[in-house]
């Protein structure tokens, strides 16, 4: 069994040499950060709609007709050009969630909740605490929506601290909107969102949603 854990550093790939495109962790985080995505966010979301990374040529045809979107997303570092095909996570959401959300927390303690307060997956903490935090996330969803109606859109993400200097968060609550449904990531300690687990999490939720959607 060979161990090729880290490949040589990837080089900048010219667009004409790349065949596929995926969001970066930053792209996944920003692309699914609002219930009303703009054109750039929709273009990022489209990349995670199939069981494998989207072919660059197809994406350009569907989302980059004027040829500027790719450049715009690359400037933001929201997308990455790839020389190899990357498949979507090949796992059922229920048990995959616990593996994919844990590395998003510096303490490997994390919860994935729906915005209505259901615990969809947890790792590193007991069921009771996971359900309490999921309920707190639902409360915070209502709070954020109420503030937005009053005209303050700033109540979107929140971190709770035990330390008076507010350096290291105890829990961070990060909302995601995937195909019109709200989710919360609740992370203990350092939130480590610059993480390929972000891409895999969003991708697996999207595919699970598509798989279980009622037939038209």
């Amino acid at each position: 069994m060979s161990l090729e854990l880290v490949e040589p550093a990837s080089q900048d790939i010219p667009a004409d040499a790349a065949k596929w495109l995926l969001p970066t962790p930053r792209g996944a985080l920003h692309g699914f950060s609002t219930p009303e995505p703009g054109p750039a966010q929709r273009a990022v979301q489209a990349l995670l709609s199939a069981p494998q990374a989207m072919e660059l040529a197809r994406w350009r045809q569907e989302h980059d007709r004027n040829g500027r979107m790719l450049q715009q997303l690359q400037e933001k570092q929201w997308v990455q050009l790839l020389r190899r095909q990357v498949p979507a996570p090949d796992v059922r959401l229920g048990d995959f969630a616990q593996h994919v959300i844990a590395p998003l927390s510096g303490e490997r303690r994390a919860v994935l909740a729906s915005d209505s307060g259901f615990c969809l997956g947890h790792s590193g903490l007991d069921q009771e605490l996971a359900e309490t935090l999921s309920a707190a996330a639902a409360d915070y969803s209502s709070f954020a929506a109420r503030q937005a109606r009053r005209g303050w859109a700033g109540a979107q993400r929140v971190a709770f601290h035990d330390d008076p200097d507010m350096l290291l968060p105890e829990w961070s609550f990060i909302p995601l909107w995937i195909d019109g449904t709200g989710y919360w990531l609740v992370l203990a300690g350092e939130p480590l969102l610059n993480n390929l687990a972000m891409v895999e999490l969003v991708w697996s939720i999207r595919l699970a949603g598509a798989r279980f959607a009622a037939p038209l």
Partner: protein, 207 residues
């Protein structure tokens, strides 16, 4: 957590400092020193990748000094990869050398699934835990730890953790169940297929 709370707070404070001043050489070096106090490899690698991405590439002496400082904590092939960028070659902002602890460099998806999903630090901890449980643990606890470990190896395609645990269990002459063999075959098969294969639609066939 291997790291103490003080070390984590120090690293976080230093991370904030480089986020405020990305080209502050002293701030990057202080952050790298703070990462070295954390005990794991990932924060050190992540801080070094940030330094290579954020600071001017022409400052080769600084890069080489930073790499020298960190190399004892890095896997040899990772140190070699950094070494190739320590003499003036640009390290792209999206790179396989970034880790989840990086703030400027972003991890590249252009790597095998096991690299996308597993961390070497975590793999080593999980392998040590399952070996300890199977050696000395109470049977029900050992069975639970073993089940969770093998689930992790399959979900994350973490053959590094699997290999470490298997090696140590053989060394201690601990017999394991059939599922270990099935997981070994499955991991080997997926390593051979790699990411070139089309993604299957279900876990049919997983051990």
């Amino acid at each position: 957590m291997a790291a103490t709370l003080d070390a984590r707070r120090e690293f976080r404070e230093r991370t904030r400092a480089v986020a405020r001043a990305p080209q502050d050489t002293a701030a990057h070096l202080a952050r790298l020193q703070a990462a070295l106090q954390l005990g794991d490899t990932e924060p050190v690698q992540g801080a070094l990748a940030d330094m290579f991405v954020a600071l001017p590439r022409a400052d080769t002496a600084l890069r080489q000094a930073a790499l020298h400082l960190a190399s004892g904590r890095l896997a040899p092939y990772v140190a070699e990869a950094f070494g190739r960028h320590a003499h003036g070659h640009v390290l792209p902002a999206i790179t396989a050398l970034a880790t989840r602890w990086s703030v400027f460099a972003q991890p590249s998806a252009d790597v095998p699934a096991r690299v996308r999903r597993a961390s070497p630090d975590h793999s080593r901890r999980l392998a040590a835990q399952v070996v300890e449980a199977l050696l000395d643990g109470e049977p029900l606890h050992a069975a639970r730890v073993e089940h969770e470990f093998l689930d992790h190896c399959v979900s994350c395609q973490d053959k590094y953790a699997f290999m470490l645990a298997s090696r140590d269990l053989r060394r201690h002459e601990i017999a394991v169940g059939d599922r270990w063999e099935r997981v070994a075959d499955w991991l080997e098969q997926h390593a051979a297929i790699g990411d070139r294969a089309e993604a299957p639609t279900s876990r049919k066939g997983s051990p």
